[in-house]
């Protein structure tokens, strides 16, 4: 019979934003992407439609979501999160006239804009801050899931600590070896952080999505310990307002910037394609300063940033 696309010939409908599980208000990179799109609505007046993944999705579900957007005339269509990598690659083939964007992955395709971030560079700065702030000379890293993306955070952080103060011991652990639950399990992070704190670690950097709230809570129970947040400026999050004085800083991934760039380019008729790396140099990643807790060490941090930007320090992507 007839397919949906044939029956519903599309006109330009706006921007389609497909979130990973977590949804638009995940206080993390979904939220950042949404902010970018909201910005575009405000500044460019484009219409934005957002859809969210459900738990336990398969490739087919993700492809369907992207296809729905493309069919309905949304352009560009952006998949937020590396889970959309394969789906974007497949669907982009079917809709050559539509621009697809994906955050955190590099699928192939002529009409695909791959937005990747130099998390390792941001994490390096976090490492610098952690090394300088730790009184016990012990810092910790908690990853949600032991995958390549999170390993970038670990690698940068460890290098940053080492380069700053070789005496400081870094302990890096993951919540789950390969279960996405790791991004969604604050109780586990709380237990893990508890273990680290008991062993004398007093600064913990957590790259584990929503689970990070667990670390921050555990830290709030121990005097003098600091948490380092990830993705968004967690100091500003309403859900964490109670603990904001224990959030040293956050490694912010400016997904909003990337999303806005893509939308703007498409509106301008020259849609971005290919791989776009949002690194320290291009303010794709940054270290948040809310709360002013790192004011005292800002010079050292700025120095480290400069070295990276100038290429004097090369941050590794794998630990």
């Amino acid at each position: 019979g007839q397919s949906f696309a044939e029956a519903n010939r599309a006109k330009h409908a706006g921007v389609g934003l497909a979130f990973d599980i977590g949804g638009r208000d995940d206080h993390s990179f979904n939220e950042a992407a949404a902010r970018g799109a909201d910005n575009a609505t405000k500044k460019l007046g484009v219409n934005v439609k957002m859809l969210t993944a459900k738990n336990g999705e398969t490739e087919a579900d993700r492809e369907q979501r992207l296809t729905s957007f493309a069919e309905a005339g949304y352009n560009p269509v952006i998949g937020v999160g590396f889970a959309y990598s394969q789906a974007v690659q497949n669907v982009a083939k079917d809709f050559p006239a539509t621009t697809f964007g994906v955050v955190d992955a590099v699928p192939e395709g002529k009409n695909v804009d791959a937005m990747v971030f130099a998390e390792h560079e941001g994490s390096y700065l976090a490492g610098v801050a952690a090394a300088l702030k730790s009184k016990n000379h012990k810092v910790g890293f908690i990853g949600g899931v032991n995958n390549a993306l999170i390993q970038k955070f670990q690698a940068g952080f460890e290098q940053g600590v080492r380069d700053t103060d070789p005496k400081v011991k870094v302990t890096s652990q993951y919540l789950y070896p390969n279960n996405d639950k790791g991004f969604n399990d604050p109780a586990a992070a709380k237990a893990k952080a508890g273990g680290m704190l008991d062993s004398g670690i007093d600064v913990i950097y957590t790259a584990a999505g929503q689970s990070g709230a667990g670390t921050i809570e555990a830290i709030s129970k121990v005097k003098g310990a600091w948490a380092i947040g990830v993705d968004s400026d967690q100091y500003q999050q309403p859900g964490l307002a109670r603990y904001k004085n224990r959030i040293l800083t956050s490694v912010v991934k400016n997904v909003d910037v990337a999303v806005f760039d893509l939308i703007k380019s498409a509106e301008d008729g020259k849609p971005l394609t290919g791989i776009h790396s949002y690194d320290l140099k291009h303010s794709g990643v940054s270290l948040a300063t809310s709360g002013g807790f790192i004011k005292d060490i800002q010079p050292q941090i700025d120095a480290a940033r400069k070295k990276i930007i100038e290429g004097k320090v090369k941050v590794k992507e794998t630990p």
Partner: protein
């Protein structure tokens, strides 16, 4: 159908009995679906939405060809999973472990398939056999523990699911059996020879594995209903002591059906592996084993019933995300699915009980009628109708 009794009324009685049977068989699902629609509508109304517009959107979106292809492709693994669960159900075994079994099986097949390349169909056959063997092996542990140590398979399969996930996690790492691809880890891509054929439908192809699913369903039906083995299996399911006394080795049957269930579970991941992804990665679909339980309940372990169940499930999946597009919360689909399963199991039980008492009453009436007509037989005193069992 003919009966031995010479009484002419009996034939009519038998016919009406068959008719009742058919009516009762349809009554349960109809009752359930009506109840489910009513309850879902109430949920819609309670959340201030118009249920009929929602159903309209779902029906409309479901009828497009791309939706239908999508639904069929999605239903195939669901169906296979339901089949695996149903094999256990037929003898009162509760294989909650289909999820772990199919994932481990698909992973093993993917790992082997990525490493070797046999020519043509050989490769596909090999991979399917490997998957079935691994699935059977994994469920066999539960079967063995049940037969030798008397541990409930409900518990062991739950534990085995978690352990399977860890095993896969251990091997699915760079340097072990996986390669890194961006942020994903997956096994090596299968060679061309392991790609299963597909039907060139429009706009997307229908997975060729649907043929295997249909074959498996037919085999299941035939095996259960037409073979000695199937009879033994059903006997154990209907009454373990009676089966034991009849000469069935219950332990052997438990082990056998656990193995078969696991082997069927091994197929669940194959349509995806051989038809879509061609590798097993961290994003390989999980949770189909649990969906299979729901669908087996929905289809009452009947091959056709489960086919409808699988299609219904896939339809809800497909059209649910359309609802999201239209501004509804797609999670309503989860509520609908839950309500449908609950209504089905309750409706089925009500209808079953009603049918049983109806039959007993009828038997009583008929025997009374018979004994009135054959009143000459004075020693006829066993016709006390038994109504309560």
């Amino acid at each position: 159908m003919s009966t031995s009794t010479k009484n002419p009324t009996v034939d009519a009685i038998a016919k009406s009995a068959t008719r009742d049977k058919v009516i009762l068989a349809i009554a349960a699902p109809v009752l359930a679906i009506v109840a489910a629609i009513v309850i879902s509508s109430l949920v819609f109304l309670a959340s201030g939405e118009n249920p009929f517009r929602a159903y309209g959107i779902m029906a409309d979106y479901g009828h497009y060809s791309d939706s239908q292809v999508w639904i069929i492709n999605k239903a195939v693994p669901y169906y296979l999973s339901a089949l695996a669960v149903a094999i256990g159900f037929r003898m009162n075994l509760f294989n909650i472990g289909v999820d772990g079994q199919y994932r481990l099986a698909a992973f093993a097949a993917a790992a082997v398939g990525g490493a070797i390349a046999l020519p043509g169909a050989l490769q596909i056959i090999l991979l399917i056999v490997i998957a079935m063997l691994v699935g059977a092996l994994w469920s066999g542990i539960a079967g063995l523990l049940k037969t030798t140590r008397g541990v409930s398979e409900v518990i062991t399969t739950i534990m085995l699911n978690a352990i399977a996930a860890s095993i896969i996690g251990y091997f699915l790492q760079d340097g072990r059996l996986a390669i890194k691809d961006g942020n994903l880890l997956h096994t090596k891509f299968l060679p061309e020879s392991s790609h299963f054929f597909s039907f060139p439908t429009h706009p997307k192809p229908v997975l060729g594995f649907v043929v295997i699913a249909i074959l498996a369903g037919a085999l299941y039906w035939f095996g259960i209903n037409r073979t000695r083995f199937g009879f033994d299996l059903r006997a154990v399911g209907a009454s373990e002591p009676a089966a034991e006394a009849s000469g069935v080795s219950v332990k052997r049957m438990v082990l056998c059906s656990m193995l078969l269930s696991g082997a069927a579970a091994g197929l669940v991941g194959m349509p995806t592996l051989l038809g879509e992804s061609f590798q097993y990665g961290t994003d390989f679909p999980a949770g189909i084993g649990f969906t299979g339980i729901a669908i087996a309940l929905l289809g009452r372990n009947h091959p056709i019933g489960m086919a409808f169940g699988a299609l219904l499930w896939a339809f809800l999946d497909r059209t649910g995300s359309r609802l999201e597009f239209e501004g509804y919360a797609q999670e309503i689909v989860g509520v609908m699915q839950g309500v449908i399963v609950l209504c089905v199991v309750i409706a089925y039980e009500i209808v079953r009980r009603y049918g049983l008492s109806l039959q007993q009453r009828k038997v009583g009436e008929e025997l009374a009628a018979l004994s009135r007509t054959n009143n000459t037989d004075k020693s006829d005193k066993s016709d006390n109708p038994e109504v309560s069992a």
